[in-house]
């Protein structure tokens, strides 16, 4: 259940971002998870549900974008691999060890209520720019 540790890292990052932007509450968190990242979406959702309590994420949902595995085929260029047990080009069968995507484990963005954003409430142009 390494997703628990990942969810803790995720919430810490969101808290840091929220503090930077003076946000009191986050509505949703968008993450990108590669098929070879070693992270299972529903397990991360369960873990997120546990660790978000008492943080700015308490009322936040997790929005997961699955990122497929793409490899560089010497013949066909960038191709998508749907079967992780066949890391070969699905068009021509050539092997490739060059991974173009699929290991992502990223936080893409967070959605916050306008009223919760200290920057928006402020008249300061500089503070707005920080958003």
């Amino acid at each position: 259940m390494h997703e628990l540790s990942i969810a803790q890292n995720l919430v810490q990052l969101v808290e840091a971002t929220a503090a930077e932007h003076q946000v009191m509450a986050v509505r949703s968190v968008r993450v990108r998870i590669g098929a070879l990242s070693g992270v299972v979406g529903f397990a991360l959702e369960s873990a997120f549900g546990l660790v978000r309590e008492g943080t700015v994420c308490a009322g936040a949902s997790l929005d997961i974008e699955d990122v497929p595995v793409r490899i560089a085929c010497p013949n066909c260029g960038s191709v998508t691999v749907n079967d992780l047990t066949f890391m070969l080009c699905p068009n021509c069968g050539r092997a490739s060890s060059e991974l173009l995507s699929g290991r992502e484990l990223e936080i893409a963005s967070i959605e916050v209520d306008e009223s919760d954003c200290g920057c928006a409430a402020s008249e300061s142009v500089a503070a707005l720019a920080r958003c």
């Binding site: 390494h2 810490q12 971002t17 890391m87 484990l105 990223e106 963005s109 959605e111």
Partner: protein, 230 residues
């Protein structure tokens, strides 16, 4: 009204930064570092005990840190090689993280070490996601686990720099199909080198030691002026 704040950061940013700093420190000290992963009972400790004893006999210095949920057994076995071995007790954690390794080697003079081995917690799933700052990740599959193990754990094998088919001495007893196993490794991780060995039967050990010694020799210390202050 809602507002979207662009973040675009790696979720394991903190782990990756610690791993990167350790890697720089290992590089500056000229210490070759391996992270060994496998299921529980695949023979990591036995292989490392042999390897460290052999390296010492060849005049090289090495040490190991080993992750385990609850016991010091592995560190005690590794220490029989004569090399220092430190246990990292993970409690309920199913994998090692970079700061656990950093903490365990805190205060070590790495410049005195030619090689450092990190024996991960026996687990074919969770360690895949965590960079520990090692130069190479080695994945062990014992013949007793069957030929299709590589297909069942594509994520971890995709992070491996070397695959070892271990416990060759038991291959006949379990009817191990060597060619099928190698074919399956190549299907999931094209181009990864594969070594087959048995510490018990003294099989394949020369090729393994050559691999280790080659990498140890290639990893020389950076001149002091260039060394990182970390």
């Amino acid at each position: 009204m809602t507002r979207i704040l662009d973040v675009r950061q790696k979720i394991l940013k903190q782990n990756d930064e610690t791993a990167r700093a350790m890697r720089a420190r290992f590089h500056d000290a000229g210490t070759f570092v391996c992270d060994l992963v496998s299921s529980p009972g695949a023979g990591k400790t036995e292989l490392l005990t042999y390897t460290m004893r052999e390296l010492r006999e060849r005049g090289m210095t090495c040490a190991a840190v080993v992750g385990d949920l609850a016991t010091n057994n592995d560190a005690e076995r590794l220490a029989t090689s004569g090399a220092p071995a430190k246990q990292i007790l993970t409690g309920t954690m199913c994998h090692l993280e970079a700061d656990m390794v950093a903490e365990s080697i805190r205060g070590w003079d790495l410049s005195t070490l030619d090689a450092l081995f990190i024996e991960n917690v026996g687990n074919l799933v969770c360690p895949a996601t965590w960079d520990l700052g090692a130069d190479k990740r080695i994945l062990l599959f014992p013949v007793t686990e069957g030929e299709d193990k590589p297909l069942k754990y594509p994520t971890l094998i995709n992070t491996a720099d070397l695959v070892i088919i271990n416990k060759l001495d038991l291959a006949e007893a379990v009817g191990f199909d060597r060619e099928l196993a190698i074919h399956n490794v190549e299907r999931v991780r094209p181009d990864v080198p594969v070594l087959e060995l048995s510490v018990r039967n003294n099989a394949g050990l020369e090729a393994w030691m050559n691999w280790v010694v080659h990498h140890v020799a290639a990893d020389v210390p950076v001149a002091p002026a260039e060394a990182s202050s970390f």
